[in-house]
């Protein structure tokens, strides 16, 4: 894990590593691994459903899972309660927050039972609210969620609500004015926000060098008076550590942190995209070497925590789980149009 020159975060690093070691028992890590296998299996299934013409559109989180899951797990662990404003590539985020595979597929298939919007929105867009965990993604317009997250955190501070707010977005989002404005505001008022940039080096087809003149977008954090941290986003434990650190910083009232997680986008941008137009087979091969699932598996095997048998079992269970979920979601009804006009305004 590389850090940008900002050092505020570094000071608490030792403490964090200690805490991580304490928390991350082999059982916990095996649980993480199974969930990552489940998400990958679900993601592949969803892609298949799209190819079968059953799911209209899909943004895969393959390659982003370690960041998305590590971040949620750390945030849940270290904050009294959490509000997340994720972006559209958040299948792993969703599962980590407790959305079930069936719910995810209901959403992906635009069924009435979609827990986020009842089928009104793109998969997993809308809001899923529990007392301790709020997932809010009201649009797929890039970067608009940054000010939302900042405003939500402001509201929490005003009302004495100790919730920590987290928002995730891609490298592309950092080019938008809303990103700048939101970062600036959070910095001025030291709001309890954790900004997580899942930098996969590409915005659809536009490579990072055409998006910014710098290598680490985390270097911009200093200009907003907040720490900027670069982390290997394919390493779930590393992500867990730095996000945990940032969340505790937020809880202590020390303000926002910007985390740049370097990830890979293993599939095309969405199911509508064909990345062969702009990525070479070599690039794709290269990325596969950074597959977070593969990486985690190798790590756990090296450590003797995961065995081939446990791995096989995880995959088998995941497949069964996703099979059941698929069946349920496919059998579920589409929304009917009876409430089409509801929720434009508050009903009197």
């Amino acid at each position: 894990m590389v850090r940008s020159r900002n050092t505020a975060a570094t000071q608490t690093r030792k403490a964090a590593e200690h805490a991580v070691a304490e928390v991350l028992t082999p059982d916990v890590l095996l649980g993480w691994y199974s969930t990552m296998v489940l998400v990958r299996t679900l993601d592949e299934r969803a892609w298949l459903l799209n190819r079968q013409g059953k799911a209209a559109i899909l943004a895969s989180s393959q390659g982003h899972e370690a960041t998305q899951m590590g971040a949620v797990w750390a945030a849940v662990r270290y904050s009294p309660s959490l509000a997340i404003f994720p972006f559209y590539r958040g299948l792993a985020t969703a599962i980590a927050t407790g959305i079930t595979p069936t719910e995810a597929l209901l959403s992906i298939l635009a069924k009435a039972g979609d827990p986020a919007s009842g089928g009104r929105q793109f998969p997993l867009h809308g809001a899923v609210m529990t007392p301790k965990l709020k997932v809010i993604n009201i649009s797929n317009v890039v970067a608009t969620q940054i000010p939302h997250a900042v405003g939500y955190a402001l509201g929490c501070r005003m009302s004495g609500d100790p919730t920590v707010t987290m928002t995730t977005f891609g490298d592309g989002a950092t080019s938008e004015g809303d990103w700048h404005e939101g970062m600036n505001y959070a910095g001025i008022y030291k709001l309890p926000v954790v900004f997580i940039c899942e930098n996969n080096g590409v915005a659809i087809s536009v490579p990072q060098r055409k998006q910014m003149a710098i290598v680490n977008v985390a270097d911009r954090a200093a200009g907003y008076g907040m720490p900027g941290v670069v982390v290997d986003g394919t390493d779930v434990m590393a992500v867990y550590e730095v996000v945990g650190e940032a969340v505790r910083r937020a809880v202590r009232g020390e303000g926002p942190t910007f985390i740049e997680a370097k990830v890979v986008r293993l599939l095309p941008h969405t199911s509508d995209d064909d990345d062969r137009r702009y990525r070479t087979p070599e690039e794709l091969e290269d990325m596969k070497r950074r597959d977070p699932l593969k990486k985690f598996k190798e790590h756990l095997m090296e450590q003797g925590i995961l065995t081939a048998q446990l791995d096989e079992q995880a995959h088998k269970e995941a497949k069964e789980h996703v099979d059941r979920a698929t069946e349920a979601a496919e059998a579920a009804p589409f929304p009917d149009t009876g409430d089409f006009y509801d929720h434009v305004y508050a009903s009197e």
Partner: protein
């Protein structure tokens, strides 16, 4: 009752609502010590502190977007956009986002936020301090859009907007701020959003308007009265939702319509009002639905003769009324 100006009414409405509900807060450029560039928020930071009267950075998109986020969290932000001309950077967060939250979350979240916005011309403000962008917002389902004309309406409707569970864009005509004074009750009152008001009853022509122009319509109506034409002046007050019933009822009575607004003609509020009438009161009409509006140039120029040329005024409105009367 006391006689107050529009700006006083606006300030009182915010003061009372902030007293009433600790969730209400204000954010915007210079709303703090400066009290807003029009002094709408004068004294509020002294009363409610920096936490509830927030001077923001100069960044409209985030003013709206942060207000939106706070509103989803349960606060009731009043976001001030310093001039309507500077609302454009915030349109993505207001039209693109805020308007769709309730619908897109199927009612799980909603946005009880007010965007206050001084608008309109006749103040030597030139191209970028005179705009009337209400029609853009009035075209947006999910938003409510209010354009009051009097201190009484401004106060009652702003209080309603603050209490409303949905995003309201509240346009205050700058020229009315100090020019228009009127009685405001001492006791608390709230006016319903979406209800038009007959500012002058009449039987011969329905003259439909909102904002500053209502006063010019009233002046024109007096001119026409002297010529024996009895004009009804209907103040829309809210431009989304439109009070269709009030519009149709008046037109059924008079059979003749003049619509007046300061905004450019093409695609302005008058278009929708005319379309409603042409569709739903067609059988009652005795004359073409006529509009007196700002001209179709990109904005109001700065120099006095050019600005005067742009602005509708009582004489131009009276001429329109005569045209409709004599059809």
């Amino acid at each position: 009752m006391a006689v107050k100006s529009v700006i006083e009414a606006v300030r009182e409405a915010m003061f009372e609502e902030m007293k009433r509900d600790p969730n209400v807060f204000i954010m915007g450029e210079d709303v703090g010590k400066r009290g807003g560039v029009f002094l709408a928020t004068r004294g509020l930071i002294e009363e409610f502190g920096e936490e509830r009267v927030i001077d923001t950075p100069l960044a409209e998109s985030s003013i709206a977007g942060i207000a939106l986020g706070a509103a989803m969290q349960g606060r009731r932000p009043i976001a001030e956009i310093q001039f309507a001309d500077f609302i454009w950077p915030a349109v993505n967060q207001i039209i693109g986002e805020a308007a769709r939250v309730r619908y897109g979350t199927k009612g799980v979240l909603h946005v009880p936020m007010v965007v206050r916005c001084p608008y309109g011309g006749g103040v030597r403000g030139g191209l970028f301090h005179s705009q009337s962008p209400e029609a853009y917002f009035a075209h947006t389902p999910g938003l409510k859009v209010v354009c009051p004309s009097t201190p009484y309406d401004a106060k009652g409707l702003l209080k309603a907007a603050i209490r409303d569970e949905d995003p309201v864009v509240f346009f205050e005509h700058k020229r009315t701020y100090r020019l228009v004074r009127g009685e405001v009750p001492d006791e608390e009152y709230v006016l319903p959003i979406g209800v038009a008001d007959i500012k002058r009853a009449g039987s011969d022509i329905t003259c439909i308007s909102y904002g500053l122009m209502v006063h010019y319509c009233l002046e024109a109506a007096e001119m026409l009265a002297k010529e024996g034409v009895n004009v009804e002046v209907l103040d829309l007050r809210t431009v989304r939702p439109l009070d269709k019933e009030a519009i149709l009822e008046s037109v059924r009575k008079t059979s003749r319509v003049l619509i007046v607004h300061e905004d450019n003609r093409t695609g302005g509020l008058g278009a929708e009002v005319a379309a409603i009438i042409a569709e739903e009161a067609f059988g009652h009409l005795d004359a073409p639905i006529t509009r007196v509006t700002g001209p179709d140039v990109p904005a109001m120029p700065f120099s006095p003769p050019l600005e005067d040329f742009f602005m509708p005024n009582p004489e131009k409105i009276a001429a329109g009324l005569r045209r409709v009367a004599s059809y």
